[in-house]
Amino acid sequence: MFKKSNRSSKSIWAGIASLSLLLGGVVSTSSYAASTLTIPATDPDTTIKVLSFMNKADIQTVLDAFAKEHPTIKVDFQTVPFNDLQPTVDARVSSKSADLDVYWADQPRVSALAARGTALDITSAFSKYRSTFDASPWASGLYNGKLYALPIANSTQMLFYNVDLLKKAGITPPSASISDRMTWEDLVVDAKKAVDSGAKYGLLFHQFDRYYQLEALPVSKGGGIGAQGKGNLIPNVANKGWIDALTWYGKLFKNKISPRGMTPEQVEPAFLAGQAAYMVGGPWFLPGLNLSKLNWGVAPHPYFKGGKAATANGSWSLAINPYSKNQEASAIFLKFMAIDGGSGYIKYRNDPELAATPEAKKLYFAKDVFATPQGKQAATIIDYETSKTGVGRVQTVGYIEFETIMNAAFSDIRNGADPGKVLREASNKLRKAWAIYK
């Protein structure tokens, strides 16, 4: 009997031991204090750890310029995959580790980062630079009237097309003029024609199933940005505008105008390989297009008939770990990247990236990529969209849950699920996930 119970207790402990590797919750019991950050007149002699999703090679010229201007501040630049950035920041900051100083912060996540205590209050050091930035990128760094992140870039979306595939299908290419903006309804008709004439894909979205790019669809239909109420904590994704816009999205795949299963990483190569008639994408695609042999054109981002023109915007900001021991050196790095010379990040990067400050926008539009005829058209479109039609992603402390749940919903609609049902379920999931913030 004894042996029996001993053995069964042994087996339970063996089970516990073999499973417990999975477990790792740690409870925090202390809170963090607000910062009174300043930018020192002389540079400290130190090394700062910077975490990003970017490859070091893509930003090396910027880091070299920083090293030249601030030789005593060394930068230990670390890269993690795009999807791992947030969990890595969470893990390092929540353990109150000083092993991270500066990190790349997705602009719509700043409210969540600030509320969670993951980003340092940098108001005291940077509020005086308010007028340096465009209004929308600056606002993305604010939470409860305080500044938690400094924008280093902005973005927009436009319509690229393959001239040869359109010609083959007898389609008149869309106009590059803002006043002749195409409707989604007309675009689908042309895209179908292109598929019927041999194009593998009619229309590609660079970021299929991502709220960043798809938000413009329900906004154009009058459905709003996805949440409302105090702190944007009441889901608003199951209204008529959202259902209509996402029904249109679902039909793209049902009617074989757009492919199921294609990941964002596969979209640009497919367009460059001449497989798609149209592609909605960002200005970061321009250098690749210029280098390719593709006969391409550019037009403004379409809108829904009877709706309003809306385009995605926003990009990345830099935030400081509240537990960093190098906060002043980090502030110097932030100032260099976002402010000095218009923006060190924009000024010294080889690949052009849309700036968050008017001064750096001038640097941006002076890059070679805008010297070609299509490049000039793209520059006019980018300038207009960023100032007139850009719609920021919803600012809420519950953004991280919002993005995860909505991206899954977009994916389900793409795979053929009923948009109304999926959006109502997503709304319920959001309500449950956001209960903790109320």
Binding site: S8, S11, L21, L23, G24, G25, A112, G261, A417
Partner: protein, 315 residues
């Protein structure tokens, strides 16, 4: 007198023998502990401590992110997750997945193992081919399978060539979990096969010879001799496979992210997403504790099965 001296003498001898024995035992324990220490420490640091920490943290409610202070809330987190219909659906899905994948993997592994111990040509080559998927990192094989199962990928091209309809596989809520089962089994079958082959090889050949003399057919031999004699290995494989499949994570995270329509949201992925995706560590810990309880029940069941059989055998 002489007798007393002898008794005393032998008493001294006995006690010094006992002392020597005790010292030898002590030294043996010392060395055993020394050699076991790294493993014990690893167990404590990597397994026992996080387990206790997770159980502890599941009794608190905290703002996501893990920085702001947590508040003791008793069983509130358990009430929250157990009253969530999505979580209950996830638990049911996890059960169903395990009810299908484990018997499937084990029976196929067993079938392949039995084949591999027959006298066949190029036995080593076949065995290597079946084992190769185990050697490929799961991230690499998952991504390869994703490419194979794409709607316009090679598998569908093959189906079309054979005159069949192309399928959605990972993009269909009806086929996604089966596709994950296929990928996991492609790896698992070769792995578990190795343990079962070792078991099959340890069965004495005289028993089979005796069965042959008694004119037992191959099916009878398999069920009456092979299966009972490799029960230990089979039970190990059963337990280890169940544990592995309850925590199957990489293909789901890489290929479906729990979709489409939550069809591949299994408990471990849900716990991961809650903890690291949403930053709700306490709620994530609660889900992992529930998962662990379910797994412990499964494992305990297997162990009790092993024990009962042993008692029967002795009888």
């Amino acid at each position: 007198m002489e007798g007393i001296v002898l008794t005393v003498h032998s008493g001294i001898k006995e006690s010094s023998k006992r002392r020597r024995h005790f010292l030898a035992k002590k030294t043996e324990y010392f060395w055993a502990l020394t050699f076991l220490l790294p493993t014990l420490l690893a167990l404590i640091v990597l397994r026992i401590t996080p387990m206790i920490s997770a159980i502890y943290s599941s009794f608190f409610i905290a703002y996501p992110g893990g920085i702001r202070p947590a508040i003791f809330s008793g069983l509130e987190n358990y009430r929250t997750v157990l009253s969530d219909s999505d979580f209950i659906a996830t638990v049911e899905r996890t059960f169903l997945f395990n009810l299908v994948i484990n018997p499937l993997q084990i029976s196929l592994s067993l079938l392949v193992s039995v084949l591999m111990v027959q006298r066949i040509r190029f036995e080593g080559l076949w065995r290597t081919l079946i084992f190769i998927p185990v050697l490929i990192p799961i991230v690499g094989s998952s991504i390869t399978w994703q490419a194979i199962l794409q709607p316009d990928g090679p598998f569908n091209s093959l189906l079309v060539t054979l005159g069949l309809k192309p399928q959605l596989f990972l993009n269909s809520p009806q086929q996604s979990l089966q596709s994950i089962t296929l990928i996991a089994s492609w790896i698992g079958i070769g792995y578990w096969m190795m343990f079962l082959i070792a078991g099959l090889r340890s069965v004495p050949s005289e028993i089979y010879e005796a069965a042959e003399i008694d004119r037992a057919g191959p099916i009878r031999v398999f069920f009456k001799i092979t299966l009972p004699l490799i029960k230990r290995q089979l039970l190990f494989v059963l337990v280890a496979d169940i544990v592995a499949n309850f925590v199957l994570f990489a293909p789901i995270q890489l290929l479906t992210a729990g979709g489409p329509e939550s069809s591949t949201t299994l408990l471990i992925f849900d716990a991961y997403r809650t903890t690291y995706g949403y930053g709700s560590r306490n709620l994530g810990a609660t889900k992992v504790v529930i998962l662990s309880i379910i797994m412990i029940c499964f494992v305990a069941l297997q162990f009790s099965f092993l024990r009962e059989k042993k008692v029967k055998e002795i009888e």
